[in-house]
Structures are given as C-alpha cells and as structure tokens.
C-alpha cells in the first residue's frame, strides 16, 4: 500500500519531464558566445549599410567610457601647461597653450571609436594640425617617426612621420565644444581621427621626433602599432575615406 503510493508519485504515471533548464542555460551561453565572436562583423556590416554604428542600440551605448592607465588623472592647469617638442628637429621648442592657440586652428566633427567596441559619434574637435607643429620646428633628415608622452607618466604613443602629416591628426585643445576636460585628457591631447582611440593620447606633454617607430604603452600591451579604424594594421592609411 505504502510503496504503491510512492510509485504513483514517481513513475510510471509521473509526467514526463524535459530538461528545459539545461537547454535555456546552454542557449543563453551560446548566444553570449556568438555575440562575442560575431558582434564586430554584424556591427561593421550595419555601419556600412546605415552609415552609423549600432552604438545607440543600448541606452548610453554612445557615451565615453573614461579610461586611465594609472588610476589617476594628472591635473595640469592652463597656465602651467607646456608641450615640449624635441629630437630630430632644427628648432626644439616648448609651447604654451597660448602658443598653440595662436597657430592656425582646424576643427571638424568626427566619431571617437574605442578599440574595445564603444563609439561616440559626432564629437567636435578643435586644435592645431600636428603637421603644422612639425613645420614650425623643422624636421631633420633621417627622421622616421614620432613618440608622444603624457603627463600621466605612463602612456606613450607613436606615429610614423607620414601618419603625423594626415590632415585630421591634431593636437587638440577643444573637444565637445569646450576646452578639453581633465578626464578627456585636457588641457591638451592628441586626436588621431583615422585610428582607434588609444592612439589619441591624453594629457600630451612631449613630442619627440625619432629615427624609428617605438611602440607605445598600448602597443606593448597587445594593440596594433597602426590601429586603423578599418582593422588593418599596415603603416599606411588603407582607406582615404578614414581621414
């Protein structure tokens, strides 16, 4: 009697059960894995078709995420700001921010694209073309590349001389319609429009003209030295559309 009751609650009359939990779990995990592997191509496809990325798909997806290598932001006042330009140049100079502002300015609206995937469309940039600064100091024979240093004493960057002469590679002192804020690398930062954001070094303190490409901080940590927005990593601009 007792065992009959027990049997009734289990089998054979017990309803057939399906491992839905395992299926949903595996399904979600597979969805996540597919997202990791294929998201970039899907997003690239749509940015090609629609002309804009899918950053706005998630609320707040098109905002800046503020990174810092040191966990701190160097605060440099306008008055104390200096940009030291040295190396293979005829006239090594140290510029104040007023010096930079006195140079012919250039401004344009372009997206900030981070290598990790986020993107901020329609950012207003204003500054002086790097090529103008190089013309001012006079690049010597044998110069090949530039190295950049930051007031954070950690980040470094590099560009070839050719890359540095692209028209939308600028030393920026205004961004988003205002002086560059500390979190965005102010008072003066680099902006390399045709490349991923890590090339646009923040808190720019020094430029050195050198005879060989020296990979910067992020490049030592695995990012390509030539971080073109289309994903190619050759030294020359693969697509004039990028600039």
């Amino acid at each position: 009697m007792m065992s009959a009751h027990r049997d009734a609650s289990i089998s054979p009359k017990a309803p057939k059960r399906v491992p839905i939990g395992r299926r949903v779990f595996i399904g979600l995990a597979a969805l996540g894995a597919a997202g990791v592997v294929f998201w970039a191509s899907v997003a690239n496809f749509f940015s090609g078709v629609l002309g804009s990325g899918l950053g706005g798909l998630l609320p707040g997806g098109d905002r800046f995420r503020i990174y810092s290598i040191t966990g701190n932001y160097p605060t440099v006042s306008r008055a104390n700001y200096r940009l030291k330009v040295s190396g293979l140049v005829h006239d090594p100079r140290t510029f104040t921010i007023e010096d930079l502002e006195a140079m012919p300015s250039t401004s344009f609206t372009k997206a900030f694209q981070c290598v990790t995937g986020w993107r901020v469309p329609d950012v207003r940039w204003e500054g002086v073309q790097l090529s103008h600064i190089l013309k001012t100091v006079g690049v010597k024979e044998g110069a090949v590349a530039l190295t950049f240093e930051s007031y954070d004493r950690a980040d470094t960057e590099c560009l070839t001389l050719d890359q540095a002469h692209l028209p939308d590679v600028i030393v920026a002192y205004r961004m988003l319609g205002a002086p560059v804020t500390t979190e965005h690398g102010g008072p003066v930062r680099l902006y390399v429009a045709p490349m991923f954001g890590y090339k646009s070094l923040k808190w720019l303190s020094a430029i050195k003209v050198v005879d060989g490409v020296q990979p910067g901080y992020w490049e030592e940590n695995g990012y390509p030295v030539n971080g073109w927005l289309d994903g190619t990593t050759g030294p020359t601009n693969p697509d004039p559309q990028l600039t």
Binding site: P15, I20, V24, G32, G35, P59, G60, N72, H184
Partner: protein, 215 residues
C-alpha cells in the same frame, strides 16, 4: 494511518529554503548588488562625472565579479548541498504543463512545483548570466589575449546582458515585495502548508507523500 493528504494548514510549516540556500541567495544578492551599483558609474562614467574614484570603482567591480560564482558553487558541494542540488534538478526538469503555462504566460492551469516556471526561468537566467558576465568580463580585463573583434563583441555582450540583468533583478525584487509570504521564506526558510497548497501544490503533495513514507 491514512496516506490521504491531510488538509493543508496555515499552522503547519514547511522548509522552503534551508540555511545553505538562504546563505547562498543572500551572498549572491550582495555580490550582484555591488556589481550593479558599481556598473552604473563605470558605464555612464562621463555622465556622472565620476573622476578620481573611477579606478577604485573598477577595482571593486572586478574583484566582486571574480567572486560571483563562489557562493553558488559552495552551496552545491558536499553534504550541505543536498537540498540545493535537489532544487537545481527541479529547476532543470519541466513538465509539459509547466512549458504550456510559461508559453501562455500563466493562462493555462498548473499545479505548481516548488517553484513555478517563471521562478525557474529567473534562476536559469541568473545562472547563465553569471557565466556569461564572468567570461566576457574576464575578456575585457585580460584583453590582450583576445583578437580585437572579440573584445568588441565581449563589450557588447557584457553591456547587453547587464541591461537584461537590471530588468530581471528589478522584476525579481518587485515580485518579492508583492509576495510577502515568499519573501519571508528567503529570510526564515519557512512557508505554511496553506501557502504551499495555493502556490506549490505539486511540492506539497510530494512532501506529504515523503512524510507518509517515513512515518
């Protein structure tokens, strides 16, 4: 001795969550809470103007995230994990009635198990999201080992699941606050037989049968 189910009583109580499950739930809730609280300024960084504290916030988010699977794993192990493992099995296995109930969003009749299909789905989603967030979060932290497109994908998946988690957790809390007897059971462990008769009839029957067997 009769084996017929006795009339469910409000005075008799049943253990819905043992101490191990309650500890695991609240440890997990605490970790989720810290992760969600730190996620907001990290995601909306420039919006909130969080400047110098960002590094600290990121560090808390990272270590809390790495700790995330620990309470559940511990609660499933060894002799104290018996009840937890039994409930995992329950959450995994669904009857046809449960599947139909879920598809019709509760419109079809169902004598519910210890957890109804919505509650089961909540647990399954939470478990999957822990694995996904841990995996994609690790890719973002140790990015240099992964190709650039995968990092972009990991960023998106981490963000998209974060939004889903916020919705599910808010829904979970709203359900808890509007179902006080269920809420009490995750603090004390106990529900009344009357509650079980109303919300978890299949479980009540099962427990009564078990009690009959051991008497």
């Amino acid at each position: 001795m009769s084996l017929a189910p006795t009339m469910p009583s409000e005075a008799l109580r049943m253990l819905r969550f043992d101490r191990v499950q309650r500890s695991a739930h609240w440890s997990n809730a605490l970790l989720f809470g810290v992760l969600m609280a730190t996620a907001i300024p990290l995601y909306f960084g420039s919006f909130f103007g969080v400047v110098l504290a960002r590094h600290v916030v990121a560090e808390i988010h990272l270590w809390t995230g790495l700790a995330l699977p620990i309470p559940i794993i511990i609660s499933l192990l060894g002799s104290w994990g018996v009840q937890m493992r039994r409930d995992v099995r329950r959450i995994n296995l669904w009857t046809r009635e449960e599947m139909r109930w879920m598809k019709t969003l509760g419109e079809t009749p169902l004598v519910a198990d210890k957890f109804n299909p919505g509650q089961k789905l909540n647990s399954i989603f939470t478990a999957a999201s822990i694995v996904i967030m841990l995996a994609t979060g690790s890719m973002l932290q140790w990015f240099r080992f992964f190709p650039v497109p995968w990092r972009q994908g990991a960023t998106f998946v981490h963000d998209a699941f974060a939004f889903a988690i916020f919705l599910v957790v808010i829904g979970h809390i709203v359900m808890a606050l509007t179902h006080r007897d269920s809420l009490r059971s995750i603090f004390t462990g106990w529900v009344s037989e009357g509650w079980a008769a109303r919300h978890a009839g299949a479980w009540l029957k099962e427990e009564q049968a078990k009690a009959g067997r051991t008497e």
